[in-house]
Amino acid sequence: MTTAAALEARNVSKRFQGVQALSGVSVDVPHGAVTCLLGDNGAGKSTLIKILSGIHPPDQGEVALDGTRVRFRSPRDALDLGIACVYQDLAMIPLMPVARNFVLGREPTRGRGPARRVDWKHAADVTRHQLENVGIRLRDPNQPVGTLSGGERQCVAIARAVYFGASVLILDEPTSALGVREAGLVLRLVRETRDRGLAVLFITHNVAHAEAIGDRFIVLNRGKELARCVSGEVGREELQDLMAGGPEMDALVADRKTAT
């Protein structure tokens, strides 16, 4: 990893109503790699990605894209620079047709002036084609997204981000609410996306999923970086230990041993 990272958080801190959510965390997300951000609930993962995707500005520190400092006023700014974020629970709007969801915010149009209108036929064709590429066969691009499974919805959201030219993909717990087979579907797509050269930041608290596709791992704990390693350096158990806050778990286990 010698080239400049696609997306970086440099020494960022964020405080919410008296709670220090992040204190001085640095994360780099290089092209062509899956960087896993691990951590327990409250570790600061969500806050960090909200800063990276333009929802919140950091109190201190800065965000850099391809080595240049950037400031986002809204998620739209981040999107326009090629940073797409796919959230676990708000990836899609269930009652809206798949095609309308797929092109949301970037609807293709035809005609000029008052006659300018969305080209729904084109949108439907693009949606069908792009989803076939990721292995989802739609009977009708106008069926509501709510008829798709959770894994399929995540795949639609990822395919959408890639199709609209994202160079950085931030995935917020994309597999946490999914069954094993569904999670596999999403993980395979994430790997394909990485192989196309995108920078992927994969947030999870599932170590098995992280180990399956991660190239690099950063573990957060209580708003600080706890550990950082690359694939093959440490095993699943070590990662699990780190995530669970290592020493605290060790103490618990020790307690139990002395008790019995």
């Binding site: 709007i93 809206m96 969801n101 915010g105 008829t147």
Partner: protein, 342 residues
């Protein structure tokens, strides 16, 4: 979703499912039922004559103009309870300068619509900036607007009405746009049809329409894909205020006078039309065409009861029952839409 879905032939069931999942289905069917009912029961009392039709279409037009905008706002997940008061306020805002200052319509109309747009803007900004529910913000606006309308009119005219608007205007060249007839029908009906077409076009064919649907469906998800959620909402609050102002203008120029109580309860009539038309109270789903049929049902029921000779007091009960029935039908249709198999 289930496995055996793959076995059965798709096309036929799919087309039917698509039809059943259209939001306006209930309102179109309801309008047909209501029309048939009154045609049979009151057909020989004048319901089927041209004058009978004009009668209920005029009532429907007022509600329909409002509903075209209110529906889009509801689809975006918000409410506007202040449109009724806005009708009264706009009527006075138009009538007072005309009668007291001798303004012509080219000046009085832009003044009225600009004032309405400002009030819509304030409503919208208060909702998106403070996070106070639109229900509360626009309920407050309902009372404030009505109070100011009554107070100011009382101070200037010493009464609850502003009369003599037509006399003051004479044959103003802009008058035919808002009073009289086009093609033998009251001009308000043309406005209703025109705004319904415009709203339907916005919703189904424009990026803004897609953003409104997404905003009401899930504002956070919409924002994260780059939809300017706040701007969508504020613009739609302006549009409901403008639609209300249009109704106020149509009433004042049609009758020649403004009443400080004009438009009372119209906010609920518009919401009723929207909901009968298949629009979800929670946002994210709905139809402007459906709302037009909802307004048509409203007009037919309110005037049809009069034709039957039954005491008109029953009108509200019938309307309430229809509202409930429509919501139940729509809820069923929506569940079907989400369960539709691939």
């Amino acid at each position: 979703m289930n496995e055996d879905a793959e076995v059965e032939p798709a096309s036929k069931g799919n087309a039917l499912a698509a039809l059943l999942s259209r939001p306006e289905l209930g309102a179109v069917a309801g309008a047909a039922v209501v029309f048939t009912f009154f045609a049979v029961v009151a057909g020989d009392q004048g319901f089927l004559t041209k004058n009978g039709a004009i009668n209920y279409l005029e009532v429907a037009a007022q509600v329909g103009v409002l509903a075209s905008a209110v529906t889009l706002l509801m689809i975006a997940g918000e409410f506007d309870l202040s449109v009724g008061s806005m009708i009264g306020a706009a009527g006075v805002l138009l009538a007072l300068p005309v009668t007291e200052l001798g303004w012509h319509l080219w000046l009085a109309l832009p003044f009225t619509f600009a004032a309405a747009a400002c009030i819509g803007l304030i409503n919208g900004l208060l909702v998106v900036r403070t996070g106070v529910p639109a229900f509360i913000v626009t309920l407050a606006a309902l009372f404030i607007l009505r109070g100011v309308t009554i107070g100011v009119t009382g101070l200037i005219t010493d009464s609850t009405q502003v009369v003599g608007v037509r006399e003051a205007l004479g044959d103003d060249p802009l008058l035919p746009l808002f009073a009289g007839e086009v093609a033998g029908l009251p001009v308000s009906i043309a406005w209703w049809l025109g705004l319904t077409a415009l709203g339907a076009w916005l919703l189904s064919r424009t990026r803004f329409g897609n953003w409104a649907l997404a905003t009401g469906g899930d504002a956070d998800a919409a924002r994260s894909t780059g939809v300017p959620v706040r701007r969508v909402k504020v613009l739609l609050f302006c549009s409901t205020a403008l639609a209300a102002a249009l109704v106020g203008v149509l009433v004042v120029l049609g009758t020649g006078s403004a009443d400080v109580l004009g438009g009372e309860l119209k906010e609920f009539e518009a919401i009723t039309a929207a909901v009968i038309g298949g629009t979800l109270l929670t946002g994210g789903y709905g139809s402007v065409v459906g709302a037009a049929f909802g307004a048509l049902i409203f007009g037919m029921v309110s005037q049809g009861i009069f034709f039957t000779g039954v005491a008109a007091d029953w009108f509200q009960s019938v309307l309430g029952a229809m509202l409930l029935a429509a919501v139940l039908v729509n809820q069923f249709a929506r569940r079907r839409a989400l369960e539709a198999r691939r």
